[in-house]
């Protein structure tokens, strides 16, 4: 009997590697006992493996390379260095985070909408040059209001407005 399908050849390859499930391996072994073609294929696979294994012997590692690899690390010393490096890295990351936050805050306050001056600030500017006649005084011809009184009234009005806005 000839077993020529690719699926069976693939099975032979896995069987040769000892990677075929046991039930399939048993079935294949029964087949191999009566199929010269498949038995010959298996012999080729084994010959190929012997040939490839022999190539391993050629690749001797140069002694100086082995020495270099052995000396490439000193786990005790390098562990300390690695830990210091990690700590420095963490510190640098923390500093970067703080700086970024500060820069972002500065940028957002600079880029945000301009704050409206409070009423008392306007009054302070208006009264800086001396007594001012209020609108009511202008209409009635009444006396000028002293700047400190105007300023106190404005502050009271502002603070009562703020308190009223609180929940």
């Amino acid at each position: 009997m000839v077993m020529a399908s690719c699926e069976n050849e693939r099975k032979l390859s896995a069987y040769h590697d000892g990677e075929l499930p046991s039930a399939e391996a048993a079935e294949l072994e029964r087949h191999l006992a009566r199929c010269d073609t498949c038995a010959a294929e298996l012999r080729k696979l084994r010959a190929m493996s012997r040939l490839l294994s022999s190539a391993v012997e050629v690749q001797q590692v140069p002694a100086e390379a082995m020495d270099r690899w052995r000396r490439s690390l000193r786990p005790g010393r390098d562990r300390v260095i690695l830990r210091i490096t990690e700590m420095l890295g963490a510190a640098a990351a923390a500093i970067l985070l703080v700086c970024s936050t500060m820069l972002w805050q500065q940028w957002s306050s600079a880029a945000g909408p301009a704050r409206q001056p409070a009423a008392w600030e306007n009054v302070a500017v208006r009264t800086a040059s001396g007594p001012v006649r209020t609108l009511a005084g202008q209409l009635t011809g009444g006396p000028e209001t002293p700047p400190d009184v105007l300023l106190a009234n404005a502050i009271l009005a502002d603070s009562s407005g703020t308190m009223g806005a609180q929940p």
Partner: protein, 191 residues
């Protein structure tokens, strides 16, 4: 496995060695190098075809493995873990240098004007071994890798799959196709 005997690989003691390396044991690190260095070098040579590059990549693998020791969860074997790091380092080196995936000795074999199979039968034993390296070098990289890991390093399909980050079925089909190609190249020599 014959290859395991050759390289003195013992998975249980491997884990123990790695635990000792974690604690800063230098002798344990040297032992890991002795056990895995030769097979990693063979793999690097088969991938790069150049001694200096292969040696550098193996060194980077050990250094990288140590630095990543905390990340090693012991879910895979040390052999698989190191192989995976090596494969990544080979890929990095290629990217840095824009290296081709074919090997220099592939060109050399072709320039000699004879098929590797003929040269195998006509030359002495040492040359024959070199020609086997040339034959393997003629395979596409994904086939060459599985052949080296399976045939020369005795890794199981599961180990190869874990080292390459591909499904087990992919390993099986790549091996099958690689062997088909090798049979064509080696021809009557296998009869």
């Amino acid at each position: 496995m014959a290859q395991d005997a050759l390289y003195g690989d013992e998975p249980d003691s491997d884990m123990e060695l790695v635990r000792r390396v974690r604690k800063g044991d230098e002798a344990a690190f040297r032992r890991v190098v002795d056990i895995h260095g030769p097979r990693l070098y063979l793999l690097a040579m088969s991938m790069l075809g150049n001694r200096e590059d292969a040696q550098d990549v193996v060194q980077e693998t050990f250094v990288g493995a140590f630095r990543g020791l905390r990340g090693f969860q012991e879910r895979s074997t040390v052999k698989t873990w190191l192989t995976r790091i090596l494969m990544n380092n080979v890929a990095d080196l290629r990217r840095r240098r824009h290296l081709r995936k074919t090997l220099p000795f592939d060109e050399a074999a072709e320039q000699l004007g004879a098929s590797p199979a003929r040269r195998v039968t006509e030359t002495g034993r040492a040359d024959m071994r070199m020609d086997i390296a040339a034959v393997v070098g003629r395979l596409p990289e994904e086939h060459r890798t599985v052949i080296v890991l399976r045939e020369m390093q005795g890794m199981t399909y599961e180990e190869i799959a874990a080292a390459l980050g591909v499904p087990r079925g992919t390993v099986e089909s790549r091996l099958f196709r690689a062997r088909q190609k090798l049979k064509e190249i080696l021809g009557d020599y296998l009869a």
